[in-house]
Amino acid sequence: MSEPLAEAVALAVELGGRRILDGVSLLAEPGQVVAVVGPNGAGKTTLLRALAGLTGSTGGLRVAGRDPRTASALTNAGRRAYAAQKPACAWDFLVRDLGDIAGSPDAFAATLARLGLADLADRRLSALSGGEQKAAHLAMTFATLADPFGSVLLLDEPAASLDLTRRALVATEIRRFTQAGGAAVVATHDLGYARSADSVVVLAEGRLLAAGAPAAALTPDVLAATWGEAAPTGA
């Protein structure tokens, strides 16, 4: 068995005296997409930020062969990329500037083309729709990693504000990344997407409710316990 690329053991995060995350474990091996699901406020974003080393945490943590809490920002960035749920940019860059800032204009242009946005490269960010901006930021996140092999991609709701076609393109891009030897941890509200992942982590109120293969983790009981009466069937 290969060494896991991302591993959290009994991870806990406390912010302002409140436990946001408590005893959450997660395993992502090379080639795997791990979906993190749960209702709003379940701790999905906090889990991803902890994996990225952006927030302090207790418990065991290894991402791309190192503990992100003790490694420098520069070291972490070499083998781990993170995309926040809501992309924001203070300045009105050209789309292709994002590739230069990510440090790999060619990889960025290629990803942009695969996401169907090649003709947007010379536009300003402010001239894009919300979905196009999100996709451009995702392309930038992909481009920050020189080589998918041995790298970890942490995406917080990459499908949010994307139309169905572009969602499928982003899903393909994530697969492309993992097939090249990387691992992806993806927070999502899309249970259909979660079912296509290699493994699923279900969070509720900061705790691990279920984990494992999609069929084993997303049982009717877990769905009912997590989402209650309004439980999605997630066909």
Partner: protein, 313 residues
């Protein structure tokens, strides 16, 4: 116009402006016999140019750190802090202030650092409103403090009042100005390498950190160097508003928003704007020159209102 052509045009314009600035003034038009009049005006011209560089790049850096196009060291109270620092020194030890070249810049730096610290603690991560309201409070406090000291100390009263009106360029001699000029140029050059960190910071602190930037360190460096730029420029000119706002705004339009071009572009335009304003003030009224700060405010305030109008929050 491409950024390269704009840079060339800016540099040619700057050289022409320097030549013109050396030729106008109370002693009459022209550079004088053997450049005698030009030599007399050189300290003032160099001081205006250096202060303009520092004000322009300082504005761009502060805007980059706070991710906010309205974060201008004039509006956020950093210049106010620098002048207050000078006022404190002149109020406490008026004789000592002139004995050592580094004392006035050091006092200005201390004041600018103090207001910067309050700004970082209170204004960061919040809305534009919080940043600008904090700046408003700092400006009011430091202006009042400077006024109180000016009123209590007879000998420094006129000096401090002139400083508050940005009317110090006329006093520039090589003896007084060499250190602040060097500090302005030094702070400008030292801020240029922060371009990459500021580019990534545009996407938020999480994104910058995830992108490999030591966010705390990058912010600390930029805040320290902006305070140094503001302090050194204040020593040369006194308080001058709007350059730190206008130069970066124009630079982003002309050279593009990437900091690798916006930072040097802001410095270049800052130098042109401040030296241009001073030259205009001296050229129009050679016997009683209008201060550079007054000229930039007259031209800059309407533009500021126009920028503010275009923002939707």
């Amino acid at each position: 116009m491409t950024p390269t052509r704009a840079t060339l045009a800016g540099l040619v314009g700057l050289v022409a402006l320097v030549a013109m600035a050396l030729a106008v003034g109370a002693q009459g038009l022209g550079w004088g016999d053997g450049g005698a009049r030009a030599l007399l005006r050189a300290p003032r011209v160099l001081a205006a140019l250096a202060a303009g560089l520092a004000l322009g790049v300082g504005g761009a850096a502060q805007q980059g750190v706070f991710r906010n196009p309205l974060a201008d060291p004039g509006l956020t109270g950093v210049f106010g802090g620098a002048l207050f620092g000078i006022a404190l020194l002149l109020g406490v030890a008026p004789e000592a202030a002139w004995q050592r070249a580094w004392l006035l810049p050091a006092a200005a730096f201390g004041g600018a650092l103090g207001t910067s610290a309050v700004l970082v603690l209170c204004g960061r991560g919040g809305s534009s409103a919080r940043l600008l309201l904090t700046g408003l409070g700092l400006n009011a406090f430091t202006a009042a403090g400077t006024l109180v000291i000016a009123a209590r100390s007879g000998e420094s009263r006129e000096l401090l009042t002139n400083g508050a009106f940005g009317d110090w360029l006329g006093m520039a001699t090589f003896e007084l100005a060499w250190l602040p000029i060097l500090l302005c140029v030094g702070a400008t050059l030292l801020l240029l390498p922060s371009a990459r960190a500021l580019d990534l910071l545009a996407f938020g602190e999480d994104a910058a950190h995830a992108g490999g930037i030591d966010v705390g360190g990058a912010r600390r460096d930029a805040v320290l160097l902006t305070a140094l730029a503001a302090a050194a420029a204040t020593c040369l000119v006194g308080q001058v508003a709007f350059i730190g706002l206008l130069a970066p705004h124009l630079a982003r339009k002309i050279f593009g928003p990437r900091h690798a071009s916006a930072l040097p572009g802001s410095a270049l335009l800052g130098g042109i704007l401040l030296l241009g304003a001073d030259t205009l003030g001296r050229g129009l009224w050679p016997q009683a020159p209008l201060s550079a700060a007054a000229v930039t405010a007259v031209l800059g305030a309407p533009l500021f209102i126009w920028i503010a109008r275009g923002r939707h929050e």
